[in-house]
């Protein structure tokens, strides 16, 4: 009786109004949203993201793609579109932000450090221009690292728009790493180095050649254990407009003697060649490699790790190098496109990143380093 009474009480006008309201609500909920025209930076960024997105999931991994797909009149999914990429207009210049140049940050992942991710999110280069690529081995450690990474990705990619990266690709590598242990002492043993670095080369090559898209201008190699860089890292490295440029990789540690935190060199793979090293190489068999940082094999190369001028640091100072390390390494995408890769075999008695710099040089590119510009490695 009560229901009937209230029904009877409502006038036709309010019924009509209610119907109209319901209709409006449904239409509103179902209609696709259009990019907002509000002037906030976030809205502009989301509009850029929308415009850059690929129509189809079959697209370069450096682009996000639309979740909804085009459908033909007969109800079938439309075939992937014909997509043009004009690489004549692609620049990689000293003024990367103004030219809206896209960066691909590549990381071979052995372990996940929250410090690494936090540092990445803090980078001040527009995130809509940054794509990430990871490769992890299919081991227990690898699984754990990927699980932690995916959690971090989920937080960032569903957080504030401006912090989100344009796209992220996670690869699992198709070959077993030679060493199961990531233990510092085992890892750095000289006999294990060649195998380890050859496997690392394959991982790096798999990563760069499958994730680099037609719109990528720069590739930044950043190891998963780099936990501290200046937030302007990308701007600072691209500013020099060099085909291959490497900052100095140091490590923070607690000095128990002086009872305070200090820094020490970490990556010794960035060097200027010496005659001793060249003589050593000349006497080697075709499958032997030269390694840096081992007392058994003194090369007398000039190491960038020892080049900083601590009395008057000049982060803009560059030096020409012959070998580079890969902990942090900025490369113009054109260098990789021309074929420069990380040799998984002795290339002029060099492998991995050192072999890469040799190959880049053979392709006619200069290799340089920033001795007074630091990035910091995690301290085990």
């Amino acid at each position: 009786m009560a229901v009937a009474r209230s029904m009877r009480r409502t006038s036709p006008i309010s019924l009509v109004l209610a119907a109209l309201l319901a209709f409006g609500f449904i239409v509103f909920m179902l209609s696709p949203s259009t990019p907002s025209v509000s002037a906030s930076a976030s809205a502009v960024s989301s509009q850029h993201r929308q415009e850059d997105a690929a129509e189809h999931p079959l697209s370069p991994p450096t682009k996000p793609f639309l979740k909804s797909q085009a459908v033909r009149s007969n109800g079938l999914q439309a075939a992937p579109p014909v997509v043009h990429y004009n690489l004549n207009n692609l620049t990689s210049s000293g003024n990367a932000i103004a030219n809206r140049e896209r960066i691909l940050i590549l990381t071979p992942l052995a372990r996940f450090y929250q410090g690494y991710w936090d540092n990445l999110v803090k980078l001040s280069y527009p995130h809509e221009l940054i794509s990430l690529g990871f490769i992890a081995p299919k081991t227990k450690d690898g699984n754990a690292a990927v699980a932690a990474l995916e959690k971090a990705i989920h937080t960032t990619q569903s957080g504030p728009i401006d912090n989100r990266f344009a796209s992220i690709t996670i690869l699992r590598q198709d070959f077993e790493p030679p060493l199961q242990s990531q233990d510092e002492k085992v890892r750095h043993k000289m006999s294990a180095q060649k195998e380890r670095r050859e496997s690392m080369s394959r991982a790096r090559n798999s990563l760069v050649f499958t994730t680099m898209g037609p719109s990528t201008s720069w590739v930044l190699w950043l190891d998963g254990d780099i936990v501290e860089t200046p937030s302007t890292l990308i701007q600072d490295l691209t500013k020099h407009n060099q085909p291959v440029i490497v900052p100095n990789c140091y490590q923070r540690y607690y000095d128990s003697n002086s009872k305070k935190w200090d820094i020490r060199p970490y990556d010794y793979n960035s060097w200027i060649d010496s005659e001793t090293a060249q003589d050593l190489a000349a006497q080697m068999g075709p499958d032997e490699i030269l390694l840096e940082g081992y007392a058994e094999m003194p090369t007398y190369r000039t190491l960038m790790a020892y080049l900083p001028n601590f009395s008057a640091l000049d982060p803009h100072r560059t030096v020409a190098l012959d070998g580079v390390g890969g902990t942090a390494l900025m490369v113009k995408a054109d260098v990789h496109r021309d074929g420069a890769m990380f040799p998984a075999f002795p290339f002029f008695h060099l492998v991995e990143t050192e072999g890469f710099s040799k190959m880049a040089k053979r392709l006619g590119y200069a290799v340089s380093g920033l001795p007074d510009y630091f990035v910091y490695h995690y301290n085990e």
Partner: protein
């Protein structure tokens, strides 16, 4: 107040005795202001409703206001950016795309790569090959590099690709299609003569290598199991070529490449001399050259005495026969994607004294991948007549024309003789026998000069 009349029958069972059963409260105990309050409340509700509806209408009419209004209304719970509708994260397991001998059954994706330059005349032929491929088209991703073209290669390519993708038959549609434009500032002329001249080879091969690397690095995806390189100027190839090469399940596989020739040049000829096995002589030669030198095969300047895949062909041989190779040609290469993922590419520098596809073979071998050729499985490259051939053809055409002249004269003579005397008819028969014999030679010569 017409409530009583709503269902008059309902009350018949319970006859109302207003005086005895009235439950209506005495008016004097009710709040006096009640009806006015109710009326006001109703008005208020209607106003609210009207306001809400008009707000919705406004939002409906001006969608751009949504971004401003929604967060305010929903207290920030529904963020407008939430519906970017973009998928940004991709996950791939590369051990699932290793490439097996029956890729078409396992749904393995193939990346088909074709570098193009001034190739509009070859495109119709190339697309007919594409349409005929028996490997499932949806598993083939196409990628083209258009560089330094002066003709309408790009426009024509786009039109033909769109036609293929709009084909109502879903079996005709291919997967991802990328057309990449990049000019490398090709200084070397592209005509046959200068293209194959010895001097130009090294720098030309390095530029070609660069182009191939650009194409590959921009289009290789983590989903690819195989990569198939195919030139646009292949005239004849089996429709099943991808499956045929895949069945060998080797890391790098190339067929034998020949080309048809006009009869007066011998009918056919080995075309691709870049597929070879290494020889002692060549290794010694390589040793003697300086670091940046590039050995190019098939020129008298570098006598390498290598066994060539092309010369080992037996037209009746087993098409499945394999031969280990060290250098390969680029007309048609099927390689597992993992070869390229490992870093093997087309060296645009001197790699062990070789560049481009020959260097590719060398590098694949260096990384312990298997590289094989199929000596008796042949595809046919288009015949493009060289300057000498063209000159020769012109000569042949002229000869044919002269022959025709002579015959016509002969014919006229016989005709006039015929008119004079009937018994000369035998000579005219002989002349018309020779006419058709000369005709095909002229036709074929014309055909070739058109190519």
């Amino acid at each position: 107040m017409n409530r009583q009349y709503a269902s008059p029958k309902g009350y018949s069972a319970y006859p109302r005795a207003p005086s005895a059963f009235s439950i209506s409260p005495n008016r004097s105990f009710q709040p006096r202001s009640q009806p006015a309050l109710r009326r006001r409340r109703q008005l208020f509700q209607r106003l609210l409703l009207l306001g809400g509806v008009s707000l919705l209408l406004v939002i409906f009419i001006f969608p751009s206001w949504r971004a401003a209004i929604i967060p305010t209304l929903s207290l920030g719970l529904v963020h407008p950016s939430e519906d970017l509708q973009l998928q940004t994260v991709r996950y791939y397991d590369l051990s699932e795309v290793q490439g097996t001998e029956k890729g078409w059954e396992r749904g393995e994706r193939v990346l088909m790569l074709t570098p193009l330059r001034d190739a509009s005349s070859h495109l119709p032929m190339f697309f007919s090959h594409l349409r005929n491929l028996t490997y499932p088209h949806n598993l083939i991703d196409l990628a083209f590099l258009v560089s330094d073209s002066r003709d309408d290669t790009l426009g024509m390519l786009t039109r033909m690709l769109q036609e293929v993708q709009n084909d109502p038959d879903p079996k005709m549609n291919f997967g991802e299609i990328s057309v990449i434009e990049k000019d490398f500032g090709q200084k070397v002329q592209q005509d046959v003569e200068s293209r194959h001249g010895f001097e130009a080879q090294a720098s030309r091969r390095k530029l070609m290598a660069q182009a191939r690397n650009w194409l590959l690095s921009a289009t290789l995806r983590p989903t690819h199991s195989w990569v198939y390189w195919r030139d646009a100027d292949v005239e004849t190839a089996p429709f099943t070529i991808i499956e045929d090469l895949m069945r060998h399940n080797r890391d790098v596989t190339v067929p034998n490449v020949w080309r048809p020739l006009p009869d007066w040049l011998g009918g056919e000829q080995p075309y691709d001399l870049n597929s070879w096995q290494e020889s002692e002589t060549a290794l010694a030669l390589a040793e003697s050259l300086d670091e940046d030198a590039v050995i190019v095969e098939g020129y008298a300047e570098y006598a390498t005495w290598r066994p060539h895949l092309a010369y080992l062909r037996d037209p009746f041989g087993d098409p499945d026969m394999e031969m280990e190779l060290d250098g390969i040609g680029g007309v048609s290469i099927l390689a597992k994607a993992r070869v390229f993922r490992a870093g093997v590419h087309f060296p645009a520098f001197s790699f062990e004294k070789h560049a481009e596809t020959e260097g590719f073979g060398k590098m694949a071998k260096r990384m312990k991948f298997s590289v094989i050729g199929l000596p008796h499985y042949v595809i046919w490259h288009l015949y493009e007549p060289s300057v000498d051939d063209l000159r020769h053809m012109e000569e042949m055409e002229r000869e044919a024309r002269e022959q025709e002249e002579r015959e016509r004269e002969l014919q006229e003579q016989t005709d006039s003789t015929k008119a004079k005397a009937h018994n000369a008819a035998k000579g005219s028969d002989k002349g018309s026998d020779e006419g058709p014999a000369a005709q095909p030679a002229k036709d074929s010569a014309k055909g070739f000069s058109n190519l």
